[in-house]
Amino acid sequence: MSDLRDLYQEVILDHTKRPRNFGTLEHATHRAQGRNPLCGDQLALFVEIADGRLRDVRFAGKGCAISTASASLLTEALKGTTIDEAHAMFERFHKVVTTPSDQPVDVSTIGKLAVLAGVREFPMRVKCASLAWHTLEAALAGRADPVTTE
């Protein structure tokens, strides 16, 4: 295993301890629930869309360091993007974290989210990093059932 610091990088720990855009969003146009019951992770994602752009993105809930940091980073990365850009970012992020660690992958495609690429070394934790993103997809698609990545 690579050093644990690859997984628990300062940026991740910072987002875990001080999650950005944390809280509910009264004027949300889209929302969804993410739950990994085996982990006990629970997450609610709120998106306000106007003129095809994600004007505001917030999340609430509790989870492990990886899932909390991932949700926090997601809100920062997507605020102000178009819906298409958000979908595209989901695709790129998903590809990075699900590519086996012995295969090369270009992390430059996901900007600041690259700090989460360390989960590739910890296959059991990929589901933690991806929960917020699958919840986002559900919110954008208007799906009411809670999402799980377990």
């Binding site: 628990y8 085996l38 059991m124």
Partner: protein, 417 residues
């Protein structure tokens, strides 16, 4: 001298260093560090004698049991039935006919739920469980209650993780047909006062099933002394292979139960018009059984008995006490489950760090623990935590392993400082 040190000077010694050499897997390094295995409550590691017995069986006398007239089949059958006899003496049952081989505790409990409870329960009847049960001693009863109209009743635990005796007693009545309770809680380590609870259950005429999955690896078990009707356990948590376990059932109950699975081995005579069934235990062992598992279980029992279960119990009690004391020294660590009597494990949380983060960091230090809800979600709800970290002990663990755990927990706190 502290009381802890004083007691440890008196404890009967298991030779931990010699025992470790008997477990081939303990020679492994994980992430470059010597493996400290503290997850035996999930599944224990296997001593060489168990592994060798399985290899020996396949290399020398593998065959199907109970049917063949040839030498190999005779030898395999003899070994399989010897294993049953070992299980009988291990739990102090009266007869080997009271021992049914199953896949594990879960299957044993489902067998009783389907073959004993389901045809006998109806509206107005109650099944009493405790709040600390593993899902495997809860969900089978929910399924039966749903089908029969019986009601599931739960005896609550207190803040320490002990079932509250008055609350348990208050829930017993003439309506209680069956009580299902753990010998030892897999999430909290609580040892239930099974003999006393069984005595109370018998006063209202209830049948008692004990989930012994976390009991048998850690202490001598005598089903007569416990007074229970059924005792279920798995092999793989007590140094035997996965996929094998045993159900003890009082013969009179087993003989009155209908089969729950049909197939080979469980019949006496088959025609298209009418099939008659073999007596217990074969009646409940349809199909080719897990022969190598049974043989491995027999060898594991023999090995455990040579170590002396009373000495095993004392050794692990010392580890529980030592781990409790060391973890309590760390600011921010909260022990989950501080029952009056505990066996085999400690469960805890580290501040508000999620158990899975703790588990990942400990793994990086070569320390294998369990992080999660331990298939006991109602217990997690009771303590208002999503998950705990659980360190569980086996005969090969020593205080040095607890020290590695404690150092790992401090590393977690450094990272999350």
């Amino acid at each position: 001298m502290t009381p802890l040190a004083e007691r440890s000077a008196l404890r009967p010694a298991l030779d931990v260093e010699a025992l470790r050499k008997q477990f081939p897997i303990l020679a492994r390094r994980v992430h470059g560090k010597p493996l400290v295995y503290l997850d035996s409550a999930a599944s224990s590691q296997k001593p060489a004698c168990v592994i060798e017995a399985i290899v020996d069986y396949y290399g020398r006398y593998h065959s199907n049991v109970h049917r063949g007239v040839h030498t190999l089949s005779e030898e395999a059958t003899a070994a399989y039935e010897r294993a049953r006899a070992r299980v009988r003496s291990f739990v102090r049952a009266d007869s080997p006919r009271e021992i049914v081989f199953v896949r594990g505790t879960t299957e044993a409990i489902n067998l009783v739920a389907q073959a004993w409870a389901r045809p006998r329960l109806g509206p107005g009847d109650e099944v009493l469980v405790t709040e600390l049960e593993h899902h495997s001693n809860l969900v089978p009863w929910q399924l039966v209650c749903e089908k029969t109209g019986a009601k599931l009743v739960v005896a609550p635990i207190d803040a320490r993780g002990d079932v509250i005796p008055e609350e348990y007693a208050r829930r017993l009545s003439k309506r209680t047909r069956l009580v299902a309770l753990a010998h030892v809680s897999n999430a909290l380590g609580t040892v239930n006062p099974v003999a006393e609870f069984t005595r109370l259950a018998k006063q209202v005429g209830a049948i008692v099933l004990v989930d012994g999955a976390q009991g048998v690896p850690h202490m001598p078990v005598d089903v007569g002394e416990l007074g229970c009707d059924f005792y279920a356990f798995s092999g793989h948590k007590m140094y035997a292979p996965t996929g094998i376990g045993a159900l003890f059932g009082r013969l009179e109950l087993l003989d009155a139960m209908e089969p729950w699975q049909g197939g080979g081995s469980m019949i006496r005579n088959v025609t298209f018009e009418k099939t008659t069934f073999a007596p217990a235990p074969e009646r409940f062992e349809a199909g080719t059984p897990n022969i190598e598992g049974a043989i491995g279980l027999g060898v594991a029992i023999e090995w455990l008995e040579r170590l002396d279960l009373a000495a095993v119990h004392a050794h692990e009690a010392d580890l529980v006490e030592y781990a409790t004391a060391r973890l309590a020294e760390i600011p921010g660590v909260r022990l989950i489950g501080t029952a009056r009597e505990r066996a085999g494990l400690v469960s805890f949380v580290v501040g508000d760090v999620h158990a899975h983060d703790v588990g990942t960091i400990l793994d990086g230090e070569g320390v294998a623990v369990r992080a999660g809800h331990h298939c006991a979600q109602p217990v997690m709800d009771h303590f208002d935590v999503p998950a705990t970290v659980r360190a569980s002990f086996a005969v090969h663990n020593g205080r040095d392993d607890v020290d590695r755990l404690v150092a790992g927990v401090r590393r977690v706190q450094e990272i999350f400082a």
